[in-house]
Structure formats: C-alpha cells, structure tokens
Subunit: 373 residues, 4 copies
Amino acid sequence: MIRFLTAGESHGEGLTGIIDGIPANLYLDRNYINEELRRRQGGFGRSERMKIEKDEAIIISGVSNSYTTGNPITIFIKNRGVNIELGEVTRPRPGHGDLVGALKYNQKGGRNILERASARETAMRVALGSVCKLLLKEFDIEIFSHVINIGGIESNLNYYSNISEMELEKVDESVIRVADKNYEAFMIEKIREAKQEGDTLGGTIEIIIKNVPVGLGSHNNWDSKLDGRLACAIMSIPGIKGIDFGLGNRVVSTLGSRFHDEIIFNETYKRKSNNAGGIEAGISNGEDIVFKCYMKPIPTLKKPLETIDMETKEKALAQFERSDVCAVPSASIVAESMAAYVLANEFMKKFGGDFLEEVKSNYYNYVKYLNNR
Amino acid sequence: MIRFLTAGESHGEGLTGIIDGIPANLYLDRNYINEELRRRQGGFGRSERMKIEKDEAIIISGVSNSYTTGNPITIFIKNRGVNIELGEVTRPRPGHGDLVGALKYNQKGGRNILERASARETAMRVALGSVCKLLLKEFDIEIFSHVINIGGIESNLNYYSNISEMELEKVDESVIRVADKNYEAFMIEKIREAKQEGDTLGGTIEIIIKNVPVGLGSHNNWDSKLDGRLACAIMSIPGIKGIDFGLGNRVVSTLGSRFHDEIIFNETYKRKSNNAGGIEAGISNGEDIVFKCYMKPIPTLKKPLETIDMETKEKALAQFERSDVCAVPSASIVAESMAAYVLANEFMKKFGGDFLEEVKSNYYNYVKYLNNR
Amino acid sequence: MIRFLTAGESHGEGLTGIIDGIPANLYLDRNYINEELRRRQGGFGRSERMKIEKDEAIIISGVSNSYTTGNPITIFIKNRGVNIELGEVTRPRPGHGDLVGALKYNQKGGRNILERASARETAMRVALGSVCKLLLKEFDIEIFSHVINIGGIESNLNYYSNISEMELEKVDESVIRVADKNYEAFMIEKIREAKQEGDTLGGTIEIIIKNVPVGLGSHNNWDSKLDGRLACAIMSIPGIKGIDFGLGNRVVSTLGSRFHDEIIFNETYKRKSNNAGGIEAGISNGEDIVFKCYMKPIPTLKKPLETIDMETKEKALAQFERSDVCAVPSASIVAESMAAYVLANEFMKKFGGDFLEEVKSNYYNYVKYLNNR
Amino acid sequence: MIRFLTAGESHGEGLTGIIDGIPANLYLDRNYINEELRRRQGGFGRSERMKIEKDEAIIISGVSNSYTTGNPITIFIKNRGVNIELGEVTRPRPGHGDLVGALKYNQKGGRNILERASARETAMRVALGSVCKLLLKEFDIEIFSHVINIGGIESNLNYYSNISEMELEKVDESVIRVADKNYEAFMIEKIREAKQEGDTLGGTIEIIIKNVPVGLGSHNNWDSKLDGRLACAIMSIPGIKGIDFGLGNRVVSTLGSRFHDEIIFNETYKRKSNNAGGIEAGISNGEDIVFKCYMKPIPTLKKPLETIDMETKEKALAQFERSDVCAVPSASIVAESMAAYVLANEFMKKFGGDFLEEVKSNYYNYVKYLNNR
C-alpha cells in the first residue's frame, strides 16, 4: 500500500512530503519530477509570483543513486520570497478556508489556515504524484489531462473520444492546456477580461488514463471502489466542486440501451464505446479511465467580495492576497497527480511486490492469465 | 471513529452489516430503521420483486433494551425468494460487474460477482445509515433528498434554493420522490415508456443536509476533506457516475464575484447565498450541505445489449436478470444513508465521546464557543 | 489487505464476523472451521458450559460451493443457553472490564460490557482465523501452539527448540495442550486444587509458525513491523498480559555474541540458531516464527474478591458469573488464530492477487527469485 | 486521530517526520523537544558518534509563534558526519536487517536497509513523541522510564511499586538511567567488560505513565485495545523483543485471588494494587499504566559473528559498522516517546476537539462526569 502525508505552508520555509510504499529499484528521474512541477506552475492567468518562483524537488531520503530503495521517500520544495511581512487575516475571503478554518481551529483570523489551505500545497502533491507516475510508466500506464472549459467557454474537443493521443501529448504546448486551438484564443481573452475586472474564473478539466489493466478496485465493499477512491482524491484538490466519469452528467438523459458499452472480443475483451469512463462496478474494465472535474473560480478577488471583519463584526471587504485569475490549467496537473497516486496504490494492492522486478513478474503473470480468458 | 463492513449476496441467506463506533446510550428505534428500508424499496419503476419483499432489520448485537451499548452493532436482513435456481452468467451485461468481476476474481462467469455487485447490497447500507441518522438527529442534523431528473426530464424544483423544508418533507409522498408535481407525471410517463421498450433510465438526485455545524472535515491533508469523503461514499453507490456540490457544474461558467458566498453576521456567521453547497476548503461552513448525484441507467435491459459469451467467445445477447427500469428514487435513499455515515463519522471525530451524553456535552460546549466568536 | 470486524455478546443471539480480502477460489472446508472451534472449546479446567455447547460456524456469505468468491465472508455462531435471566452487574469483578467499561460507556453496571469483553467473543476470532489458516496452508505455512506453564508449573519442553514437529502435532491429544507428559499431570492437579479453592490460574503459551518465507513485514515504518503487528493482535486476546519473541525475556541476560543467529548458506540462507524467533528488523527471516504469550488468571473467582457496589458505593464481594478455572489451553487456539490473521494479511500485502491461483503464481515467482540469491 | 510518518537514513541528509492531528493552540516548546533528543543521545555505553553529534529539531511547518496551528507539523533533524565513504554491506550482521532487507527489497547488500533499520531513525520518533508529550502534559499525564536490567544484572528497584515519583524524576541523573545507585555501578562495570570483549548487552526497561484517565482504549474490537496498541508501538522499536504489563510474566505463577486489583472507593474508584499495570479489558482503569520492555543486545559486534558473504556465498565475518555496546538507556526514551504517541492518539479519539481549549473542555466535562459516578 502506498500512503503519503504532506505538510508545509505557503510562506513557511517550504513544503515537505513523505511517501511510503513505493517499491525498490524504481529509477527516480529528478528531472522528470521537476518538469512536472514546472508543468503545474505554467499557465496563462497565473499571478506574477509564479513567474519568479521555479519549484525544485529536493529528494532527502528513500533514494540511492537515483533508484528507490524501498525506504520512505522524502521530498522537500523550498518556498521563495518567504520574507514578506504577513499580518493576520481578519476579513475572511468567501470561498476560501479563512473563516471556517479560523472557527474550527480557534484562530484569531485566517492567516494560519490560508497558508495551508492555499493551492501552494498542491505543489507537493505533484511532486509525490510524479513518483507514482514513474511507477505507472513502468507498466505503460499514462495519465493525460486537458482543459475543456474556462469560465463557460467550452472547447469543441470537450470529450475524450474526440481527441487523439497525439493531440493529448501536445496539450502542454498550450499556455492554458487546451487542445482546441480555435477555442484557446477565446479562453485567453476571457481570462484577460476577468483580470481587468478584478474577477476570477473556473473551468473544466478532463483526465484520461491509458493502459490500465482490467481489475483495479473492487465491487466488494463501498470503500474499495476505484471510482470512489478517485473521487475522494480529486475532490480534495482546492477548488474542485464536482467530478463525473465517462459521459458525465449526460448520463442522466441517455437510455440504458445507448449508454452501456457493449462487449466485443478481439484477442481480449473490448468495448464498442466507453461511456462508463473505464470503470464498472468500481473495477477498471480495461478501457481508458476518463473523468471530468469542475473547478470553481478562485476565491481571492482583486475586486473584493463582502465579508465581516472578525474583530469588529462589521461589514468589510475581503482581504486581498496575491493571487491568480484562473488556476484551471494548473489544477489539471494536480488532478493528474492525485489520479496517479490512486492508480499506483490500487496497482500495488493488486500486484503486491516489494521491488520493481517482483511487481513486474506479478503483473505479467496476470496479463498472461487475462490473455487466456 | 465509526467504521462498518457489509457482506451478503442477492440470493444468499441475507445481508449482514457490522457497524463499530456508535456511542452508547443512543435510542435505536427499530421501526425507524425498517421505515428507512421501506423508503428504499418504494418507487415507481421497481421490479415486481420489490413488491413482494419487505426488508426487515434484525438487530443481533450491540443493543440492549433498544439502547446502544457501545458494542459493535450487527444488523441482518433476510433475503426472500432465495430458492430460485441460479445458473452461471456467461453472457455478461455491459455496465454491470459481470465481466470485470469474473476476470478479476477468476470466476467462470459473472454469477458470484453480480450477486454482490447488485444493488441489493445497498439495503444494508440503508440499515446502517439509519443508525447514523438516528445519531445525527440527536443533534438536529437532518438529511433530505429529492429526485430532480429522470431520463432527461428535469424538474423545475431542481435546486435546493427553490425548495422549502416543507416540500422536502413531502417528497416521500411522491412515488418517484419528486417535489415538483407537474414534472412528476412526465417522469412517470417516461419510465412507463422505457419499460415498454425494455429500456432503462438514469437520473439526478439532490441531497440536502441541514443543521451541520461549522467545522466538520479539515483542509489539512487531502484525505481529511469533507467533500472528498462524501464523494468517495456517494460514488460507491452502484450506478452513480458523478457528484457535484452546491451550484454543481454551473460553477465553471460563473464568475468568482458571482459564485462565492458573501459573509454576513447575525448572531453567528452566515452567508448571503450557498453556491458552495456548505463546504469550503474541505470544511463544513454551517450552511446546508448540498450536492447532486448523477445516476446511470440500470445495466440490466429486457431488450438486451450485445455481449460475448464467455464460454464460446461468440457474440451473444446479454443475460437478463429480473430488474428494475429506474432505480433513481431508491438510490436517493442510499445516498442519504451514505451521507449520514460520513457525517456521523466526521461528527464523532470532531466531538469524541463514548456515550451520547458525553458527545452532547462536547457538542454544546463547542456551540457555546462558536456563539462567542 | 485482509480486514475483519466481529460483533456479538455472550448471551445474545450469537456472534457475527465479517472478513474481507480473502482471495477467490480458496476451498473453505467447513469441517475444518468447526474442528478449530472445537479445539478452542476443549481443555481441562473449563466450566460446565463448555461441555454442553458445541460451537458451529454458519457461513452466510462469500462462499459458493465451498469455494471463496472474493466477496466478504460472513460467519455466524449461534449462542446456546441464551434464555438465562441476566441481571445488571453492579459489583464489578477486579480484572474484568466490568467497572472500566461501565464508566467509559456510562452504563449503570457491567452487564453490557462483560457480555462483549467476555472470552466468548474469541470463538469468532477462531472461526475467522481458521479461514486465514486455510489460506496459509495453501503455502504450507502451519501454525502450532502448546502450553508450557500453568499456574507457575513449567514444562520441561518449554522452548520450541526442544520440541519436534511431531510432538507439536500431538499436543491436541493433551487435555491441557501440554507436550510434556510428565508435567501434564502436575498441571492438571494444580488446576484441580485451584478449582477446589475457588481460585483461578494463568499460564504461558508458545506459538510456532513454520514455513514462513523471508520478507513479511517491513523495517520501513513503525507500524509495518511484523513483530509489532503480531504483538498488537496477540495482546488483544482477553487475559494476555505479555508477549516475547524467540528467547523471550532471557534476551536481557544473553551476550550479543551468544544471542544473534549466525548466518549459513545451504541452497538458501539459513541460521545456526533461532534466538530471534524468526524476525529481524520487523521482517520474517525464514526461520520459524516463535513467540510466547503470558496469560493472567481468569478474573471471575468463585471465592470472590473485594470490590465496591456501584449503586451504594459500599464494600462488597464481586459478582460471580459462571466461569472457568484456567483458560490457557483455550487461549492458545485463539493465539494461533490471531497469528494466522496477521500472517495472512502480511502475506497478501506482499504477494497481492485476487484469486488463489494468482497469489500462488506471485508467491512461486518470489520463491524462484529467492533461490537465485 | 493523530498519525505520523518518518523518513530518512542514518547517513543521508537527515531525518524527516510529519505528524498530523495535533490540536491547534498547543505551546510547542522547542527547547523541550531538543532536551528530549538530548536525553535519547545520552547514556554510558554509547559510541563515540553520540558524543560529537547533538541532534536538534528544526520545525518546518505547523507552528506559528511557538503555537501549533492545527496544520501538520514537520520536524527535520540534520545528520552530522555525513561525508563518510559508504560501501555496500555484503557480509550481513546476524540480528540486524541487513540480510532480510536485502532479500526482501532485492538489494545487492544491506547498505540501503541498515541505513533505515538503524536506531538512528528513532531520533525522529523521540522528536514527534515529544510533541505528543507536550499535549499530554496539558492534562498532567506524565511518562517516566527507568532501566532495571542491563546484561542480566537486575536492579532492586525493578518494579514500579518500589520506586517513588521522586526517584523516577531523578533517573535522568544516572548515565544509564538506573534508579538504584547500588546496582548502577555493577551495570556500568558490566558494560565496560562487554566493551573490552567486543561484545554487546541488552536489558530491561520499565515505563510508568501517571494520571491517565479511566477509559482510553476499548474492549470492543481487537484493534481498539489500549494494551494491543501500546504493544505494537513498543515492539516496533529496534531491539525490543518483548513487552509485558504490570506484574509481567510473573502473572503466570500468581493465583487469581492474588493477582487481580481489588476495587475500593475514595471519592473515585481506586485499586488496592496495580498488578494489571493500569489496563483491564483493553481499557485504562485510572491506575498508572506500567509495562516492561525487553531489549536484545545490539547486533553490531566488534568481535564479529559468523555470516555469509552475499557475493561469494562463502563463510565470512560480519561487517562492522560503528556502534554502541548497550543502547538500553537510549531505548527507554524511545519507548517513552512511542507510548506518548499511543496515549495522545487514544486521548484525542476519546475527547475529540480541534484546538486545545476545546479538548480541555471536553476532558474536564468527562472528569466531572467521572466524579459523579
């Protein structure tokens, strides 16, 4: 089983993550991890901060000569620009954790909460998720994401069946991670407008996971279902308010006879369609795993919302902290990372093994079995 | 911490559930539990089976003179009509667990899988969830649900802000649990049509949880977030393919300035709106918790889909097992139950306590603190 | 991962257990399970109750045609003689859970506590443990136990290195599960004496697990160590107050040069001795796993101890509930069962797999690797 | 719930720990943590290394102005003397993790294993345990330890009932943490002898926890018992091979009538004796929690044991790494720390609360209830 904890605040010394359960003898390419961090930091609509800071993963434990040892892996990411004067936040921002956190943890204001509830924390999830991605890559499992909607402008390539693997691979070339060049411009314009008005935007992300074997997750008990576990991990990303698999919410208006993915056989069992998004009864069915996440607009607005001053209980305008206009492209990388964690964990639960060669033997052994079904 | 396991198959002797961590001295009204089971069994569009069987919860342990003792509680629900001849299922139904389960667990066909992956299992979740509801009721936390869409027909009362608590309380009077009398008829007609055509329907459910205190869940680590935990539990319900909170996927086309729920103060902190669905930064904010679930059409069709015979590898028509046309009303009760479990568990984590009086003291102590903030 | 919950009280309808994570296609011999239950019920020094009641495991779910299906397995054991008038227990027995439980769970007296804290609960652990044993047997892992001390009388065969596998297999022939025929008589006499005096006895058990492969458990983090996990499971058995591995507490007076088990090579790595009891750095080392458990005397005495009446707060004599004089032989079977659970769980974590054939392939694959080291 | 992960190797950059679930507003005295680290580093019989290195805890997250914030706390301890040339370890030391780890994780030799399996890792447990101690201190719960046996020489003050709180407080003044001045000299002499002979020594530690309220842990299910949880945590300390509570293994030769702690009433329920070591039925009973741990001699000997060279499969002498002669005094601090973690975790489970004031209200509320029983 793979488990991890992260810690660290936005303006503290840095972020720390420990991940336990990664098998030994996996090549851990530090450049890859840093490249993933860079992917998260990119994107049009980010604040100035992103442009100065370039996150770098420092691997403190669990790796010897670039190979994992089976020991828990520690990654540290230094914060930059820490020496800013930071006051208490007593005019909490609606939509952020400022008020609820201050009440839950009996803090005078939101400062200690927002430092942790901030999306800064997700940098560590990307770092640890990239370790999981490297493990999955050993089994050809690849995770893609693309942005399909920003602020209500929806791309034509808004469903995975319309988009080729080649197009997916090029998504990183877009500053907002949109595959559809025509819509990209409209979306960028939308972000520009929102920025001018001191407003913020949400959007939609689609995640596509390729080469997942049949049989991850289980129908057995409620907490073993692959879709449930993915939903938990994805919904935990700041700003994500919804998730749906395959056809998504169009599922409700589709007849059963049109929805379910008919089974064919061509060396192995396959499907004519993939409306289910690759999961049936909480178990991966061998098709691509596909889901969409819906992200709310960033809660920190230049044109601030109404709130209450926690000291005086008077009406006030919400405090402004340096922030982005639209974090959807960035969140898509975080979503990839959390998906990578869930998949890697389910993979290890199914295949066992303490070192990569063992995991591989077990995996190929299962593939051979499948090929004889 | 509250935890539970369920077990049992559709045509086995019955369903068993054990729930651990319910505090002592809670009055456990058996009629209430059975009434909840009855609510799940109702609904237009259910198969004949539902009409004969009336589930009844047998409490085997953990309760003395109708009060919980702190010991783990066992509930058993007897299956009826068990003596049916049950053959192997080698023509797996697309959308059901038949094929994936048979491959994962190396079963000749889907029989042993479908017996567990079947929605029958959710009866036990309702029984155990009703125990959690009884606990939450002691703190005035009430969980409502209503159906807002069946097969693409969407009620006008499709958002919690349009529907009063009184209307919610009357939802049970509708055979399909729809609040909007005008649309109810259309939906029933839609189900009738689908039945005639041997087809099935999905739909949308909205869950509304009232009187949740500020501070359940935490922004602290990814697996502590209340929305993530709810998403995991709800997505684990057979057929549910999506979940979103508050405004739902409309979030992507709403500007930040319009989305976030401005803060006011009137004895305690309140909000002008509830677009967030009662959760910010993974923490309940004191507003109603609101989310929607999207359910796929039932995978068992009278007009069967194409599949492969697992023995011959030839094309075939999927096996038919007695089934419903539309299980959305029933699923709404299951969704209430899983939400009840998650809330009760988070409640116990925050307030601690081994017996009800202790939990109450701790709770009121916190409420007093909140009233002074 | 294998997990389980048990529930049920001594005088309730019966005991229920659900075990989740047992791979599919394991032959589940009901006679074996019942034979294990019978082993637990035997033993000189048991109360009359044991003689009338013969526990029987009823398998309610998770098994089809005697083979596991991958679904969670429910076992039920009916209580007999339930129709006894049961009053509140307000004169709590020192050493039992009566007082502490009544205080923790705010019960008037100890009745609801003792019904669960009673050793009756361990019958279900034996039933579920026997499922784990059947899994382990598929890999030739065998668990033995013998009693080496009762009430201070210590057998000469008090250490596993003095006792052959053949002798271990014959232990069940002794009414007190003692291998040393000479000492058996003394111990039985000791029990007789204690009975006459209305007193009770504790004792020592040794557990020996054969054919455990190198590599279960991990040195990685505190909660992954095999010895820690065994200690948790064994200490959870009512009455067990201590556990030690290998040489046991003689470890403190043995020099390092005499204690550590020197490594030799004979086709695979072996040891000259097994003072460590088969575990180094929290990992099984391929030698027999050996540990001792120390059991306190039963807290229910015919010659009752002093206590306080919880209603009057006056001095009183502790209530007497029908009870045994010495439960050490019985506890040895429970200890086997809990050890079986821990081993099976660690086994599944290392080897993965959802069905027995898959687990076996993975296991043999690892054995082949080991043979090449 | 409190949980933690540690990571880091002996000769890596340092040790990292993340602890999650500590309530907000706890004063976190860094000097106290460092003082605890110093206590662990002391002791006659330690290697030269200990004398140069002075561990220091660097708090990286979760604390603001010396108070916890509810955010996860990261502690880092830098290693010193890291720039040593480190070769592979192919002549594994019997008793250490070298061989088993290398086999389990498919490493050429033991280097990557021993770097983690080394007792160096326990420094982080002491640091995180000291956070737990600070939490417990707020409720007057104090944890003491003393060494009662080294290499077979047993102190006269070998049982908690013979030693006063004042004597316990002075134990730190002894270089080997022995309360009995007469025996201290013999033990030191024993260590000197062993050192001269290139040998190593084990010993016995007693832990005493004062002011634990009735009601931590539960009899409910096997994995909820306080003694089981303590046993798991203590057995996870490198070198510990046994644990027993209260009277310890003398329990087996004590009659029930002499063993069980009779109940008296003097404002609250109390006991005439404490043979049970403060735990009945897996629940704390309000008396001091008392247990002993048995530690094996250090497996690294200057006079090396026989082993096998993993490269040649020839007989060889085990590799020597710089090491101590006797680590018992040091292990006693680690045992305190692990006990602190378990107690703090159980405390938070029972009393709930997200900030210290809330935990205190809940706690005093329970104390008031207890005083009325």
